[in-house]
């Protein structure tokens, strides 16, 4: 019975929070803690696997290494540039342009949780509570095990629900946010 395709061996770290582009390792200086990363990808995931950056984390060193808290850690310079542009546009009230710029970033890294999160924030600022919640949920779904991202997403969802007049849902979301925030404590130095 051959091994299962979707179940990586134990040496594999879990899901990458956001999916960095394949060439991440070459194009962006990694934080020192990630520099000693093995240069080779595990054999069964060779080739231009999009999870390379993540694989560079050492899963066997307890305590668990903190998942990325900021977009910089998982996003290519190209995506960072677009997110910066989107921030500027949003800051000056050009919400549609900001959203379009974030969509452009998503075309580059379609599973980057931070981009979905910012797009959710833009939609919320536009009063599109429904889309804001959906995008924040989508961000959760690609974030993997990242309480930092998930806490922020649940805060966004709480806001969105409040905007939509769903007080009960908002408070449920808020307590989820609190829970995730609490679980980030395990990563505190």
């Amino acid at each position: 019975m051959a091994g299962c395709a979707s179940a990586p061996p134990d040496t594999m770290p879990r899901t990458p929070p956001g999916q960095p582009s394949p060439q991440q390792g070459q194009t962006q200086p990694l934080p020192p803690s990630q520099r000693q990363a093995p240069p080779q990808v595990p054999a069964d995931r060779g080739g231009p696997s999009p999870s390379r950056q993540n694989q560079s984390r050492q899963p066997d060193t307890p305590p668990k290494e903190a998942p990325p808290q900021h977009a910089e850690a998982v996003s290519s310079p190209a995506v960072m540039s677009l997110m910066g542009r989107a921030d500027t546009l949003a800051g000056s009230g050009h919400m549609d342009d900001a959203a379009a710029t974030l969509e452009r970033a998503l075309d580059l890294e379609p599973r980057n949780a931070f981009i979905y999160q910012r797009l959710a924030a833009v939609r919320l600022a536009q009063g599109q509570a429904g889309q804001a919640e959906q995008l924040a949920q989508k961000s959760n779904s690609v974030a993997g095990d990242n309480p930092f991202v998930e806490a922020d997403n649940w805060k966004l969802i709480a806001e969105a629900r409040k905007t939509a007049g769903d007080a009960k849902g908002a408070s449920a979301a808020s307590s989820k946010a609190v829970n995730y925030e609490r679980s980030t404590a395990q990563y505190s130095q």
Binding site: C4, A5, S6, S21, P48, S49, S51, P110, Q137
Partner: protein, 814 residues
């Protein structure tokens, strides 16, 4: 003097004047002349009005221009240097020693030097830039600006112009200004067509005389002798009839035009009006569009040999069509180059170089609407209802689409090759098979490629949208997804009965699904295996237990808008769908349950670039992440171990892919639908007359699908189990050929090593619904586990954290 004295005499004499005949007729003649002049004047005034109204009013109806999605260049982009150069050439970029001009590149140094074109995007203008790109094994490794205008993290290439939306039998053009075309173009036109253009009055008496002599000699009108102004008038105001009165009217109008407007205005109008070719029912007018039509680049970038060819074609665009009659075209182009040289605006060496160069026109495929008819069709359908026809055909709107020309080229190429190959291999009559394909980006729901048939560039029946065929086993992932939404009843190792089944229908008939292999695989088949090997009977039982109405409900959640028949055979795909509809359904599964409407258009702007309409990303979670994840996991097994395993003879084994084959009754339709991490593809193969194609999904559609996905560097699926998923390592031992209902003669062997089972596979369950008593390293056969499972401590393992399971796992379905 004499006359004066005469007059005086007459007046002085007071007598009756003696008049000559002429003198007596003079008043009448004058009257007639005056009347004639008046009529002529009136006619001239009428013509004048016509000339001015047309010239100054909305002169040209401008069809909407449709663009492909622009290629983003950035460090980290997985595009090789070779692929990028192919793309640049497709977009008419020119290899040049130095990249001083926009639209040029050079790969001789380290990396690739590139000078991009400026472009008015939907979110503003992007100036042209000079860059240097570095490459490594993964693609673009560095991007540096070399023009001193500041650093860049990324830049878009100008998007490829892929078509226009023009009325049936319409004219198409792209406006250019006189000041922006290469000066050699107007100068060359004047040299070749009308040497005295700058000084004549709109007509050339000499030319007319010459033409008249030729006409008289021939006894018919054979020669134009027209000035550029006359040619413009003819193109602009008149039809192509060559009668004498037409010629007169043309001459008068030319004089009027010349009197009213400057030479520059007339020349610019000519550049935009002149007829330069035919593309099916679309007439190519003006040098702006002709430049794209023949060379796929803006007119500014035309080289002397290209300018000469276009100028040469003015004389007879179909006679000198460089694609159909390259020799004729070349002879005339060289003649024109000689005239350029004699006139002094082409120096010796440039002249020689231009004559030595080939025609340089892009292939018949690389032109406008006929290149991507199926995709343009989809674009039109999506625009319909939002814009009036006139808005689309007259206002010069700009439509920015999701088409990726590289993906499209791969899909077209692989379909053409794949059909020919399979026809040959299987002794099928050549050219009897047809095919259609859709490729999407998964996230974002972008349609990257759409192929409507094997004959590329043929704007006929768009099978990707219109061919609705039974989907067969492509339906099964929807069945299993529906089942996994009921975690109390189903999980990936729920035992299914694959023994013969017959169901009494409401119609009184009996439905008896059979397996493709005509055999049963026992009454204890783990659910995942049923999908992996596309077992019809086991899957039918699962579907009936999950509920056909629930399956229809799932179809709706996945984005299917049609009516599916509420009959048991729906479980096996007795519903007809187009490839695009299938792509929508699978796309929702691939996103993890986020329905994202497939879109072909992202933005529409005015001609000037003002945004009109945006089609933003919209997503809605319609299916829970857990069931979607389990379904994808099972489809990954189809790809690794099941009916889709053939893909890995083409696709890199390290990539996790998911998919499903589909084959319909009597082998009429062969389907494959599947996805990796960032691309989803659907391929259909069959016959237009719906006769048996004699192919299965695995033999007919899968090879084409695999090649497309490999060509476009589809990434593998990144395993992201959602929070609602619990993974249990299990030994998947079920083998229908083994004794003991697939468990083999000695199932105890699997339990010898306790909790160490390196061969185990992490099987996903919905949290809270892991079957009671299931332990790590158990097998996929619940019956076998049950025999081993008492007590758990005896096997040296603690039971997993369990839920109080409602669905007793040993209970078989039916």
């Amino acid at each position: 003097m004499a006359r004066q004295s005469n007059k005086k005499t007459a007046a002085a004499s007071g007598g009756r004047p003696r008049r000559s005949l002429t003198r007596r007729l003079l008043p009448y003649l004058l009257l007639i002349a005056t009347a004639g002049a008046a009529v002529l004047a009136l006619y001239m005034a009428h013509l004048d009005h016509e000339v001015r109204a047309k010239f100054e009013g909305t002169r040209w109806k401008l069809p909407a221009k449709v663009y492909a999605s622009p290629l983003e260049l950035y460090a980290g982009q997985d595009v090789s240097e070779k692929e990028l150069i192919t793309r640049l050439q497709r977009q008419g970029y020119r290899r040049a020693a130095s990249v001083d001009d926009a639209g040029t590149y050079n790969e001789s140094g380290a990396g690739l030097a590139l000078h991009t074109r400026d472009f008015q995007f939907w979110n503003g203008a992007q100036p042209d830039r000079k860059l240097r790109l570095g490459f490594d094994a993964n693609g673009v490794s560095s991007l540096k600006a070399t023009d001193g205008e500041g650093d860049l993290a990324l830049i878009r290439l100008d998007p490829q112009l892929i078509g226009s939306i023009y009325p049936n039998k319409g004219t198409d053009r792209i406006l250019v200004k006189l000041g922006e075309v290469p000066p050699m173009l107007p100068a060359g036109l004047i040299t070749v067509e009308d040497r005295h253009f700058m000084s004549n009055w709109g007509i050339s008496p000499r030319g007319i005389l010459r033409a008249a002599i030729a006409d008289i000699k021939a006894g018919a009108i054979v020669q134009g002798g027209s000035t550029l102004t006359q040619q413009l008038v003819k193109n602009f105001y008149l039809d192509n009839q060559q009668t004498l009165s037409r010629k007169g009217k043309e001459a008068l109008m030319a004089i009027l035009l010349d009197a009213h407007y400057s030479k520059e205005e007339i020349l610019e109008a000519y550049l935009n009006e002149v007829y330069l070719g035919q593309d099916g029912s679309r007439a190519i007018h003006g040098f702006g569009l002709a430049s794209y039509f023949y060379f796929q680049k803006p007119v500014q970038e035309l080289q002397p040999s290209e300018i000469a060819l276009l100028v040469a074609m003015v004389k007879g665009p179909s006679y000198y069509d460089p694609r159909r009659h390259p020799d004729r075209a070349r002879t005339r182009r060289d003649l024109v180059l000689n005239m350029f040289h004699e006139a002094g605006f082409l120096k010796d060496d440039a002249w020689q170089a231009a004559k030595a160069s080939d025609l340089g026109v892009t292939g018949t495929a690389a032109r406008g609407n006929t290149q991507y008819p199926a995709f343009i069709d989809l674009v039109k359908r999506q625009l319909k209802g939002q814009y009036k026809d006139e808005d689309l055909t007259e206002e010069g709107l700009r439509v920015f689409t999701t088409l990726d020309p590289t993906v499209q080229a791969a899909a077209e190429g692989r379909i053409a090759d794949g059909l020919s190959r399979v026809e040959k291999q299987r002794g099928i009559k050549a050219d009897t098979l047809e095919s259609a394909a859709v490729v999407t980006s998964i996230e974002g729901g972008n349609v990257l490629a759409l192929v409507g048939g094997r004959e590329q560039g043929y704007a006929g029946f768009n099978r990707a949208l219109e061919a609705k065929r039974q989907i067969g086993s492509l339906m099964k992932p929807v069945d299993y997804l529906t089942a996994m939404m009921q975690p109390a009843k189903f999980n990936p190792i729920t035992p299914l009965d694959d023994s013969p089944l017959s169901v009494k229908l409401a119609t009184g008939k009996t439905w008896q699904p059979g397996n493709y292999s005509n055999r049963s695989h026992g009454d204890n088949v783990p659910a995942y295996y049923g999908l992996e090997h596309s077992l019809n009977i086991a899957s039918s039982r699962l579907s009936l237990a999950a509920g056909i109405p629930n399956i229809i409900d799932t179809l709706g959640k996945l984005g299917y808008e049609g009516d599916a028949p509420a009959v048991p055979s729906l479980a096996l795909g007795s519903v007809s769908m187009s490839p695009l509809e299938v792509a929508q359904i699978y796309n929702t599964i691939a996103t993890g349950g986020y329905y994202t409407p497939l879109r072909a258009i992202k933005d529409v702007t005015t001609r000037e670039g003002e945004p009109l309409n945006r089609y933003p990303l919209k997503l809605t979670q319609t299916v829970d992440a857990g069931p979607a994840y389990i379904t994808t996991w099972m489809m990954e097994r189809v790809a690794r171990h099941g009916t889709g395993a053939g893909m890995y003879s083409t696709i890199d084994r390290s990539k996790t892919m998911a998919g499903k084959t589909g084959t319909t009754n009597n082998l009429r339709d062969a389907w494959f639908a599947g996805f990796g991490g960032n691309r989803l593809g659907v391929v259909w193969v069959g016959r237009d007359d719906n006769k048996p194609a004699k192919l299965t999904g695995a033999t007919g559609a899968l090879p084409i699908w695999s090649h497309i996905m490999a060509d476009i560097n589809t990434r593998g699926i990144v395993d992201t189990p959602p929070d609602s998923i619990a993974q249990v390592p299990l030994q998947l031992i079920f083998d229908p050929n083994a004794a003991n209902q697939g468990a083999g003669n000695n199932p105890n062997q699997w339990f010898a090593n306790g909790q160490s089972c390196s061969n185990a596979v992490k099987v996903p369950f919905i949290k809270g619904f892991v079957p009671q008593g299931l332990l790590n390293c158990d097998t996929d056969i619940m019956r076998v586990n049950a025999q081993q499972n008492q007590p758990a401590d005896n096997r040296g393992r603690a039971p997993r954290d369990q839920d109080n399971d409602q669905g007793s796992w040993f209970e078989r379905i039916f």
